[in-house]
């Protein structure tokens, strides 16, 4: 209805923007609420609804099975249009992930990583790389993995050790990458590796295809959640690729990786949000049906207060996430901080929501027949990956305390 408003009204802690709401008289159209469609344009509501229908009909029924089998049903997604090829905004992507994650957090989270890799190639890659890869990645015929973390370089990613040495027109990569989502099963690996000096400025982003000699994988990791997608170490031993496989400029890799992560943080937070929304709805149904001491649980003030707190945290999370997505879209001066805040707040608040939902289910909540425990296991890792929530606090504090 008012797409320009949604794009422009970014509220941040920066006082310059805090009165923005007075500038836009029709602000009520932007109101975010417990209803995920509230505040969205007509088009976005349609996107949300379609994604939610897909999540309910095609993903939710298989969610437990994918968790158990430790494998997603990839065929499912090959026919689907991806965001990279659709020109959707950051907010559009966020609401899509929010909807899809209600069907399966783990699978949706992997799609968000794939999407981030496609975005990095699309945004920074040379024309020939874009031409080769974007159509295949956008249709999800080929899948991508993001490779930054190393066994010895986690939060301190700028200190990474994987090297890429020049040899004629080639680069020779050596080192290993840890916790790589999709590792071993995906087709394209975006490897952050050192092509120059120590520190972040000596890092480049290099595209390595599966099947390149010297590229191998570690064992499939066993995890608490995120089971529908494999996680493996990616090992590079004298792995030779053309220099033209560098995404962006030499030495730009760390910056590209961080830019990718900004969107990644909003998307991962959106996945937590979807899980929290679904858990809230499941709990409301459960409380109305389950009876103890002669009345439905919904009639107990304790349950009511718990639901009230869950719903309040949910709306707060949604506001922060959508605000951050809009900030990123608009290249707002505080976009990095706002994305970090959204990830920090929403992943924690949504984990608390789902945890409370599990408690409200009592013993049933602990059973694998009920979806709540899987949402809990799947979103726990969102407090750790895409930059731990501790790193989020470092980023936020650095911005607040910097000399003006």
């Amino acid at each position: 209805m008012l797409p320009c408003f949604v794009r422009r009204a970014v509220f941040s802690f920066n006082p310059r923007y805090s009165h923005a709401k007075n500038v836009f008289p029709n602000i009520r159209h932007l109101v975010t609420s417990v209803d995920p469609s509230s505040g969205l344009t007509e088009e976005q509501q349609q996107i949300y609804k379609t994604a939610l229908d897909f999540a309910h009909l095609e993903m939710r029924p298989h969610m437990a099975e994918w968790d158990e089998k430790h494998h997603w049903d990839l065929v499912l997604f090959t026919a689907r249009e991806d965001y990279g090829g659709t020109g959707l905004s950051r907010l559009d992507a966020s609401i899509t992930f929010e909807a899809l994650s209600q069907g399966c957090v783990s699978t949706t989270a992997y799609i968000s990583i794939h999407n981030m890799c496609a975005w990095m190639i699309d945004k920074f890659g040379r024309e020939d790389l874009r031409k080769t890869w974007i159509p295949q990645l956008a249709s999800m015929e080929k899948l991508a993995s993001y490779c930054l973390t190393e066994p010895g370089a986690g939060s301190d990613a700028g200190s990474l050790n994987t090297t890429a040495k020049k040899s004629g027109n080639d680069l020779i990569l050596n080192g290993s990458k840890a916790f790589i989502s999709g590792g071993g099963d995906t087709d394209v690996y975006l490897i952050m590796c050192r092509t120059g000096e120590p520190g972040p400025k000596g890092i480049s982003c290099v595209l390595v295809e599966k099947g390149t000699p010297g590229l191998s994988f570690g064992k499939k990791e066993k995890k608490i959640g995120w089971n529908s997608q494999p996680t493996r170490a990616v090992i590079l031993e004298d792995c030779r690729v053309p220099i033209s496989n560098i995404i962006g400029k030499e030495g730009q890799g760390f910056s590209i990786a961080m830019k990718g992560l900004n969107g990644g943080r909003v998307n991962i937070a959106s996945c937590s949000l979807g899980a929290a929304q679904a858990s809230l709805e499941i709990s409301a149904d459960h409380l109305k049906v389950r009876k103890q001491f002669g009345k439905p649980l919904a009639d107990f003030q304790h349950s009511q207060f718990q639901m009230a707190r869950m719903a309040t945290k949910l709306v707060a999370s949604r506001m922060m996430i959508r605000n951050a997505a809009t900030a990123l879209e608009e290249s707002h001066p505080n976009d990095v901080t706002l994305c970090s805040m959204a990830k920090l707040y929403a992943t924690e608040a949504c984990f608390e929501i789902v945890n409370t939902a599990l408690q409200l289910h009592g013993g049933y909540g602990y059973l694998k027949d009920y979806a709540v425990q899987q949402y809990l296991r799947d979103i726990r890792v969102h407090l750790i990956l895409e930059g731990t929530n501790e790193v989020m606090q470092m980023v936020i504090a650095k911005d607040i305390l910097k000399s003006k």
Partner: protein
């Protein structure tokens, strides 16, 4: 063939929502309740889109009658592949007493105004379960009808339609122009793709009133009371088959 197809799409309470009756028994609660396109109408749209993809049809017009929110339903139809929409706005008490006959009259008039060759509607809406619109539209236009279709094939100026009837399938041939109603097994509707959702925004929706179509929708009936179906009562256990038969006989079931 290059048909112009008119498809009726109704906005109904979503199939997954638990229906609740208003405390004053004047109707069911619709406020704040999720609404969607009637599932049978989704099948109707899908069939029209497939016919267009097979070059049997050249244009698909989606029609919906009801409050302003019907435009969302029309957008869904447009995102699935309809070319343009027509919204006949009816709200408030008039909408509450709207009957299939009113919709049929509108469809019939639109069919004339828009030079329509084929009307496809869902066989029934999941809210009132009337299953009347297709039949009455055909009667008003004096067109043949093929209801409860589970397969449609275009054959030299006519349609061969497989109908789901009690106890089996019936294949009939109808001359165009005609009215078809879609049954559950006709097809499986697609998910609108994201680019098509974006494109749907730019497709036109014409707004009309019942008066524009010469249809009088003033209420002729009054809803006296709406009640929930009786709650299923607890059963009783019987010792053996004989006792069960005896019980059933006593209750008049056998």
């Amino acid at each position: 063939m290059s048909l112009r197809i008119l498809v009726g799409v109704k906005r109904v309470i979503d199939y997954a929502v638990k229906i609740r009756v208003k405390p004053d028994k004047s109707g069911v609660i619709t406020e704040g309740v999720k609404h969607s396109m009637n599932p049978f109408d989704e099948i109707a749209i899908e069939e029209a889109v497939r016919m267009k993809e097979k070059k049997i049809a050249k244009e698909i017009v989606a029609f919906s009658c009801g409050p302003a929110q019907c435009q969302e339903t029309l957008r869904t139809a447009l995102a699935m592949g309809a070319d343009r929409g027509i919204h006949v706005e009816v709200a408030g008490p008039q909408f509450d007493t709207l009957q299939p006959l009113h919709i049929s009259k509108m469809l019939a008039q639109l069919a004339k105004d828009e030079q329509i060759d084929l009307i496809i509607v869902g066989k029934q809406a999941i809210d009132d379960d009337c299953n009347q619109t297709a039949q009455m539209t055909a009667a008003l236009l004096d067109w043949p009808q093929a209801t409860s279709a589970s397969k449609i094939e275009a054959k030299d100026g006519s349609l061969q339609v497989v109908r789901e009837i009690d106890g089996g399938l019936e294949t009939i041939k109808v001359k165009l122009p005609t009215v078809v109603s879609a049954d559950l097994r006709l097809n499986e509707p697609r998910y609108a793709t994201l680019p098509n959702i974006m494109k749907a925004k730019k497709k036109p929706i014409k707004k009309l009133t019942p008066k524009d179509l010469g249809v009088d929708v003033s209420p002729r009936i009054e809803v006296v009371t709406v009640e929930e179906p009786p709650v299923r009562l607890a059963g009783a256990k019987v010792e053996n088959v004989d006792m069960m038969v005896e019980k059933l006989k006593a209750l008049g079931h056998a």
